[in-house]
């Protein structure tokens, strides 16, 4: 604090003491002018929530996690969207960026960003989740808070052109059955996607939560493949190669495949199955006293809408229906909540969700019984949090 501030404060204290009972109490109200306008907004300096990451092999690789326990509603602020990078975040000038569609098409085409903005656009709210999200839960090293346990998960409003529109514009040949989507990052990350999905609900997105994509999320243009593992949602999209078979890139052979106990690996396990997590009260928090709390959390399914979330406040002995907050959207995060009165005793809190296909989120034991211990990706088991008598909530 500067000397002038100190003397100003001393003056104010003296002044208010002198005026005494005649003055209106001014506790907490500003007594100096606020800051001026800003061209691009920033959050309050009191808000410290941030992405979490450990050191990785190189700064250009690795992941960062969304602080789910700090968020409200279903939209992830773009600045807190999780990241996974394999070759760093490229800085792409949109004036020089093009998306090429070629291969088994009548007319190979090139689209500038200006071209993409001319097509009829749609906006949709969808979650993105890394295939490896909550792998720590699977291997028996549970995360201490939702960010560490489930933070490779975010949800945004995405705006762009349906991929179908671009494929129709190029004209598909009858032999077309897959596309290979490729990024313009240094490693030109590529994934094969079945044409059936490409023509269904995939977006070529340039907008995220009302503004242009963030560089970390693929600026200036990316694929959004609703409900499917994060890695196929190719960022910095540069090329769409229409082909007649999957091209067997490392990310669909060497990784993101699920090794079963018999030594065979499941491949093209694209869909992220129904999953939920309680984000308040939750690991890392402390309940100040017994009494009323709202339990709230997030549920989602890559197969469609969430139809039901049940919460247990007694270690799974009984379950009660949570309220689903509107909007409840297909392949989007859904916010659930349930009023709860804590009696001060030790207990555990957990949630399980059901999606519109009738699929019920399983327990960790049920998953491991079927898939064994080596399939760490695509894990969606029920997550318990433990409430201790001192009010602390933890993962153990």
């Amino acid at each position: 604090m500067k000397r002038s501030d100190l003397s100003r404060r001393a003056f104010l204290t003296t002044a208010s003491a002198t005026v005494g009972a005649a003055a209106i109490p001014s506790v907490g109200l500003p007594q100096q002018l606020g800051t001026p306008r800003r061209a691009y907004g920033e959050r309050s300096p009191f808000e410290k929530s941030s992405r979490y990451f450990r050191e990785s092999a190189t700064p250009a690789s690795g992941s960062s996690r969304t602080p789910l326990q700090d968020l409200f509603g279903i939209i992830t602020p773009s600045a807190l969207h999780y990241e996974v990078h394999h070759s760093g975040v490229p800085q792409i000038d949109p004036r020089h960026h093009e998306v090429m569609v070629h291969g088994l098409v009548e007319r190979p085409l090139v689209f500038t960003m200006e071209d993409l903005h001319r097509f009829p656009s749609v906006s949709r709210i969808h979650f993105l989740e890394c295939a490896g999200n909550s792998a720590g839960e699977q291997i028996g090293r549970p995360g201490a808070d939702p960010q560490r346990s489930h933070g490779l998960l975010s949800c945004s409003e995405w705006t762009g052109v349906p991929l179908r529109t671009l494929l129709e514009e190029a004209g598909l040949k009858p032999s077309a059955s897959w596309i290979v989507a490729e990024g313009s990052d240094a490693g030109r990350l590529a994934r094969s996607i079945p044409l059936e999905k490409a023509l269904d609900d995939v977006l070529v997105a340039y907008g995220q939560n009302g503004e242009a994509l963030r560089p970390e999320q693929g600026y200036p243009v990316r694929l959004v493949v609703p409900g499917w593992e994060g890695n196929v949602n190719i960022k910095w999209l540069g090329r769409l190669h229409v082909v007649d078979q999957p091209y067997m890139t490392p990310y669909e052979t060497a990784s993101y495949t699920d090794l079963m106990p018999d030594g065979k690996a499941r491949q093209f396990t694209f869909v992220m199955e129904a999953k939920s997590v309680i984000t308040r009260p939750t690991g890392g928090q402390k309940l100040p006293s017994p009494g009323f709390y709202e339990i709230t959390g997030l549920a989602w399914s890559g197969r469609g809408r969430i139809t039901r979330v049940e919460v247990s406040t007694n270690g799974g002995a009984s379950w009660g229906d949570a309220q689903l907050n509107e909007p409840v959207l297909s392949k989007a995060l859904t916010r659930f909540c349930l009023p709860w009165s804590w009696d001060g005793k030790e207990t555990s809190l957990q949630s399980r969700c059901t999606d519109e296909t009738g699929y019920l989120q399983p327990t960790r034991d049920e998953l491991l019984t079927v898939r064994g211990v080596n399939a760490t990706d695509h894990y969606n088991g029920i997550k318990p949090w433990y409430v201790h008598t001192d009010g602390k909530v933890s993962h153990v």
Partner: protein
């Protein structure tokens, strides 16, 4: 390979319907030259592989210069970087070692990945010959080809990887929760 019966039929019908004329006339046609310049994908059958050649013997030097500082002198990997060799017979154990030799089903994937992504700090800088050399050396470290066996655009796709038949389709939903619905 996939539940493609109906799906494929729908896709094919869709494809036929979509092979019409342009609706919006937005975007320009790509020239053959720019497609050639940008298309680096390689199919499992080898289409897209450029002409070139190399043997494991020749690849050893390239590997030692460009790869071994991360992946180890014999492909054993290091703290942060994956092993490229070994692990055969470990997939059905509780300590599976997934490498090019034990896990990767296609040799073309090795070539394509090295070509586009390696060396990590300078991706895309290896020539076609260097890529054939290094690919050959890694296959040799895994005892898949002989030390003097030349890899080129014709021979590489014919190399049968040990785990070629190790993959099965998505079987989910596979876990039926026994929890009572109420």
């Amino acid at each position: 390979m996939f539940r493609l019966g109906i799906a494929l039929a729908i896709a094919l019908l869709g494809a036929l319907a979509l092979a019409q004329t342009r609706r919006y006339n937005v975007g320009r046609e790509a020239t053959p030259d720019e497609i050639r310049a940008r298309d680096i994908s390689v199919s499992p059958g080898g289409s897209g592989l450029p002409p070139g050649r190399g043997t494991p013997k020749e690849g050893r030097l390239v590997y030692q210069t460009k790869c071994s500082s991360c992946h180890g002198d014999r492909g054993q990997g290091s703290q942060y970087y994956p092993a490229l060799a070994g692990g055969r017979g470990t997939l059905a154990t509780d300590k599976p070692l997934l490498t090019v030799g034990s896990y990767w089903p296609y040799s073309t994937t090795v070539w394509d990945y090295i070509h586009r992504t390696m060396p990590y700090q300078e991706p895309g800088t290896l020539t076609a010959d260097e890529t054939y050399c290094v690919t050959a050396y890694i296959l040799y470290l895994n005892e898949i080809i002989r030390q003097d066996q030349e890899m080129n655009e014709k021979t590489l796709p014919t190399v049968r990887m040990p785990n070629r038949d190790g993959f099965v389709p998505d079987a989910r939903p596979d876990v039926k929760s026994k929890s009572k619905k109420r």
